[in-house]
Amino acid sequence: MNYSHHELTFNVPITQLMRSQAEHVSQCQDDSHKSRQVYRNVLAVLAVNYYCQCMGIETSVESSTVWDPALQFFANSADLELKNLGRVECCAMMNNQTKIMVSREAQYDKLGYIAVALDDDSKEAILRGFSENLVEDGDLFSLQNWDDLDLFLLKVEEWENQPSMVSSQVTQLSQWLRGWVDAGWQSLEALVAPEQQAPAWVVRGPMKSQEISQDSVIKRGKLLHFEGMDEAIALLISLDSEIAQEMDISVEIQSLDRRTELPLNLEISILNDEGQVVMQALAKSTEHIKLNFSGQPQEEFGVKVALGPVSFLEHFVI
C-alpha cells in the first residue's frame, strides 16, 4: 500500500460539545428539514474550524451565519471567516454521496468551498475536497471535479502572503498644518481632477466646501487601487487643530464620486502604535465611511484598508 499518494483529506472527530451546539441552534427552526439542515451546517463549520485550528489558520467562528437563526431561516449557508482573509463555505454532504449541494445564496462572496462529509450518527466529519470556484452553474456539484485539501492549503498560503501594501514611510501629520504635505498625499481637487466622470462633487457633495477652506481644517487624500476593481477607493484624512493640545482626526473612505457603493466587506481599521485594532468599520451597502478620533502630538497610529486578502496600511505620527 502506498501511503503517500492518497488524496489529502482530514477526519475530524466530532465531540458531544459540537453536537450540542448544533442541536441548540437547530432547535430554533420549526421545520424539521430546515432544522436538520442547520444542524449539519453548524457541524460542518465546526469541523472546518477545528481543522483550521490544527493547521494554525486563524478563524473567527463566532461571526459565522450559522449562529443566526434568521439568516439560517432565509438561507442555507455555512460560512467560516478566516481572519483577515475572507470567508470559506463549509458544505455539508452525506458521507456516501458524490454530489455536493451549495445553495445559490451560499455562493456569494466566498474565497472557496470545502466539502464536509458527515456520517449519519454525526461522530466524524471528513473534509473531502476543496474548490476555489464553482465552475458549473447551479447548486449541485460533483466532488470528483473538486480538488483535495492540498489546494486549500496552497490557496491559504497565497491569501496569507498576498502582499499587504504597507507604506514604508511614516506620514507626519503635524507637518501638514505647516503646509508641508508628504508626497503621495494630495488635495481633494488634485485627487479628483484626473477623473472626468465626476468633476463637480467637491462643490456639490455633502462635504461642504467651507469645511475645506476653514483654516484649521486640512484634508488630504490618497487613491487606493485594489486589483480587479475598476475604480479606486479614496482614503481621506482630515485634521482639525483648533485645540492646541489635541488634534481631531477624521479618516474616511469613499468612492471617488461618493455615489458608488463601496465594495461589500471593505474594512477600515485604525490601529494603535502596537498595531492593535482600536476602531473598525465594515462596508455594507454604503457609499462612505468616516471614523473620528483625536490624538496628541507624537502619538502614532495606523490606518488599514482591506478587501479580502488585499490590504493597504498607512502609518502616521501626529
Binding site: 500500500m1 472527530p13 430554533c28 493547521m55 494554525g56 432565509f74 456569494y108 485539501l149 492540498d150
Partner: protein
C-alpha cells in the same frame, strides 16, 4: 502496538506505515511553521494516524455509553497537540505511533474524561470552541413559542417597510420582500429568475447581501 508489519523484500518494497509517518513528522519539523509544506505534512500525518487502525483505545470496556464521546474528545485534544507540538517528537527515540499512543493513553484520554462525565459548567468553559455570542444571548432568553414563525412574521409585517423598500437598483419592483416570500414558499431560484427575467446570481447575491444587512433588525424584532 509494537507489532510491525511483516517486512517486505528489501529491494523494491513499499515503505511501511511507520516509515511514512516518521518521514512526514520529519518533513513537518523541517518546514517553517505556517508554511504549506508543514500544513500538508501535518494533515497527512494526522490522517494516516487516524485511519491506521493502530490508535490505542485506553480503558476499553469502561465508561459504558459514553466511551466514544470521551474517545472523540481525547482525539481532538490529541490531533491539535500533534499539529501544535510536532517539534516535541523525537524520531530517534520512538516510532511516531508509539509517541502518539503514549500521549493518548497517558494524557488526553484522562483529560477528556471530566469533560464528558464531569461538571457540566466545566464542559463549556474548557471547550476548544467557545459558545458563540449570539447563541449565548439566545439561550439566556426565553424563546418565543416558535422562533422561525416570528421571523416569517417579521418579513410579512415588514414593520418599517425595510424589506419592501430594498430593491434591485435598476428595478424597483423587484424587492427583497418579494423574493424572500417566494423563497420561503419553496420556489426555486431558477423559477423566480425566469419569472422576473433577472439572472439567478443577480437575484441571489442581492438576496444574500440584503439579508446580512437585515439580520440585526430581524433579531431585534424577534427578541422584543
Amino acid at each position: 502496538m509494537e507489532d510491525r508489519d511483516i517486512q517486505q523484500p528489501s529491494d523494491d518494497r513499499v515503505p511501511d506505515l511507520d516509515e511514512v509517518l516518521r518521514g512526514l513528522a520529519l518533513e513537518a519539523q523541517n518546514s517553517p511553521p505556517g508554511s504549506r509544506q508543514r500544513r500538508r505534512a501535518l494533515t497527512r500525518l494526522v490522517q494516516l494516524t487516524r485511519t491506521s487502525g493502530r490508535l490505542c483505545r485506553p480503558y476499553l470496556g469502561q465508561f459504558p455509553h459514553v466511551y466514544d464521546e470521551i474517545y472523540n474528545e481525547a482525539l481532538q485534544l490529541l490531533f491539535i497537540y500533534i499539529c501544535d507540538r510536532i517539534d516535541a517528537y523525537n524520531p530517534q527515540r520512538s516510532p511516531f505511533l508509539r509517541w502518539v499512543n503514549f500521549l493518548l493513553q497517558r494524557r488526553f484520554f484522562n483529560q477528556a474524561i471530566p469533560k464528558i462525565i464531569g461538571d457540566r459548567r466545566e464542559v463549556s468553559s474548557n471547550s476548544l470552541t467557545p459558545l458563540p455570542r449570539v447563541q449565548q444571548q439566545l439561550s439566556t432568553k426565553v424563546l418565543p413559542p416558535s422562533l422561525s414563525e416570528a421571523i416569517a412574521q417579521c418579513l410579512r409585517e415588514d414593520p418599517d417597510g425595510l424589506f419592501e423598500r430594498r430593491s434591485l437598483r435598476q428595478m424597483p419592483e423587484i424587492t427583497f420582500k418579494r423574493i424572500a416570500i417566494r423563497r420561503l414558499n419553496g420556489e426555486s431560484w431558477k423559477s423566480i429568475s425566469v419569472d422576473l427575467g433577472v439572472g439567478i446570481s443577480t437575484l441571489s447575491d442581492f438576496y444574500q447581501r440584503s439579508l446580512s444587512e437585515f439580520s440585526e433588525f430581524i433579531k431585534d424584532y424577534v427578541q422584543t
